[in-house]
């Protein structure tokens, strides 16, 4: 059986903490190890925060929908939002740190890029859809920037 999770954020800024608590409960129910549970919560946290920070238009309510499915070897996260077109795969570098250059911007997407085994984006009917795959068997994917 494939375990599924579905959560709608009608008021994203207010609902984000409740979403993350629900993700924790879902991960607990599946008995995921701490490392996978943390990665799952972090990826969702960062992508939803990115939607909130960069997608909202003043005075406009916008919804975000977060889905998770457990397919055995992988966890798949799908985030659909109604904001302006934004392709996180075009902005997310694996290199969080460049030699001699320590910046505070873009850290969230960089973390997501390094945690995901697959990251896909599509735009359809006015919605952004980002799909992230997280492997349950964690393999170190160390950032080699500057080494």
């Amino acid at each position: 059986m494939i375990a599924k999770f579905d959560f709608a954020l009608n008021r994203p800024e207010e609902d984000q903490a409740e979403l993350l608590a629900a993700v924790e409960e879902f991960a607990d129910a599946l008995g995921l190890p701490p490392s996978v549970r943390y990665r799952l919560g972090l990826v969702i946290d960062e992508l939803v925060s990115n939607c909130i920070a960069h997608g909202a238009r003043p005075g406009e309510d916008r919804g975000i929908r977060v889905g998770i499915s457990d397919s055995g070897d992988d966890m798949t996260v799908e985030i659909v939002d109604s904001g302006p077109p934004f392709d996180p795969t075009a902005h997310a570098s694996r290199k969080c740190l460049q030699p001699g250059d320590v910046k505070v911007g873009g850290m969230g997407l960089c973390l997501v890029r390094n945690l995901a085994t697959r990251m896909e984006y599509s735009r359809f009917d006015g919605f952004n859809r980002t799909r992230i795959t997280i492997a349950k068997s964690i393999q170190e994917n160390a950032c080699t920037s500057g080494r």
Binding site: R37, Y38, V104, N114, L115
Partner: protein, 117 residues
């Protein structure tokens, strides 16, 4: 998040427990950056009771690094749990922060480092 600050003449020392996320990080940022204005050379963060950190929390460490590095100082991260340590490793932040097994080791390093001021 629960935050406790320990007085030290050469370092800003914080013990952080619970979750460092978008809700709790502004308080940490305010207190950490204020403490760095006193001219200390090092920031020591005890994360042994930290359960969660996201990019907002990491950003506070990077901002601290940007202030302390020109003074010859450092950001020391202590006791971080294994699943969180992985995030420092894969993102490369373990190369700009000094990662210590516990706060005692960080304090030993501070004591062994000559004060350039």
């Amino acid at each position: 998040m629960h935050l406790r600050q320990i007085e030290h003449p050469r370092a800003a020392v914080f013990l952080v427990s619970g979750r460092l996320d978008a809700t709790s990080t502004p308080e940490l940022e305010r207190k950490v950056l204020l403490s760095l204005e006193s001219g200390v050379r090092h920031l020591v963060m005890d994360f042994s009771e930290l359960e969660y950190i996201n990019s907002a929390g990491l950003r506070v460490l990077v901002m601290s690094y940007q202030r302390l590095n020109p003074r010859g100082g450092s950001v020391m991260v202590c006791g971080v749990r294994d699943y969180i340590a992985e995030i420092f490793d894969i993102s490369g932040y373990n190369r700009i922060f000094a990662m210590h097994a516990d706060m005692a080791h960080a304090m030993q390093e501070i004591d062994a480092t000559p004060d350039a001021q």
